[in-house]
């Protein structure tokens, strides 16, 4: 079993994180922004699991990644509920057009 060096996992994680950041900044749709955030959370999990490979006795990194997955699931449900409310109120999902708090 050949060991892949930990730097390669970190490079893949950094690439996915930066692509997720670009998606979250440039998308013109609220759910597009949510896709970028999910991608960033996954990229962070890659780092945690790559370092957890070197700690097989009590795998702290994998447990942390498990809690990150739980928080991501909770976050996406609440965000989708808010997006549906915003769409029902403003009839649009473009973040640039939602520019008033009181209507």
């Amino acid at each position: 079993m050949i060991n892949i060096p930990v730097e390669h996992y970190l490079i893949v994680g950094a690439a996915l994180f930066c692509i997720g950041l670009a998606i979250a900044v440039t998308k013109q749709h609220l759910i597009g922004i949510l896709l970028g955030i999910e991608l960033m959370l996954n990229a962070v999990n890659i780092n945690l699991i790559a370092f957890s490979r070197h700690d097989p006795e009590k795998i702290g990194g994998q447990l942390f990644a498990l809690f990150v997955i739980v928080v991501a699931a909770a976050e996406v449900t609440v965000a989708l509920a808010i997006i549906l409310r915003v769409y029902g109120h403003f009839r649009t999902v473009e973040p640039d057009k939602i520019n008033e708090l009181k209507n």
Partner: protein, 177 residues
């Protein structure tokens, strides 16, 4: 060429290429399916790093739950574009300022992170040859030393369930005229 190395670079290339497809695609449904491929690639990277339980959890939670939810959200919110008729002006696809800044920030952050990672020179200790399953270790750790975060996660999920159901409730159905 070792099989494991080929699998690692193949799956990481798959994940990165489909993530780039999300970034450049204009159709959000295609972007969601590209995110599906990215999640599968990331799950394969988990398997190659020895985290079998996390890979299965990733597939079940992300692909089975979150992605279905996102596709539902896209379908529920994209009905407004169907009203576009020939009298509406065409959209001119120019790079707005936000896109320029987004690409600039992302590329510079990636350059910065890869510089740090390549110059960090990690001295890793510990055995990396994981050939047994991690499920037993995860179960024991969750029930002993990580019991408080486990319970907090349970309460968080319950609160998110109740809060999402309350938020998505249609409180004034007559205002949709």
């Amino acid at each position: 060429m070792n099989m494991e190395i080929a699998a690692f670079y193949g799956f990481s290339g798959l994940a990165v290429i489909s993530a780039l497809f999300i970034l450049f695609s204009r159709n959000l449904i295609y972007a969601a399916f590209a995110l599906f491929i990215t999640f599968l690639g990331v799950a394969a990277l988990y398997v190659l790093a020895g985290a079998d339980f996390l890979a299965v959890t990733q597939i079940m939670v992300y692909v089975g739950g979150i992605l279905v939810l996102l596709i539902f959200g896209i379908m529920l919110t994209q009905k407004a574009d169907r009203e576009a008729v020939s009298s509406t002006p065409n959209k001119v696809l120019v790079m707005v300022k936000r896109q320029v800044w987004g690409f600039l920030v992302a590329i510079s952050l990636f350059a910065f992170l890869s510089f740090i990672i390549t110059t960090a020179n990690f001295k890793m200790t510990g055995e990396t040859n994981i050939s047994r399953s991690t499920i037993k270790t995860i179960g024991v750790e969750l029930m002993t030393s990580h019991l408080l975060p486990f319970e907090i996660a349970a309460i968080l999920l319950l609160m998110a369930l109740v809060g999402a159901a309350y938020l998505a409730l249609n409180r004034n159905p007559v205002s949709h005229d």
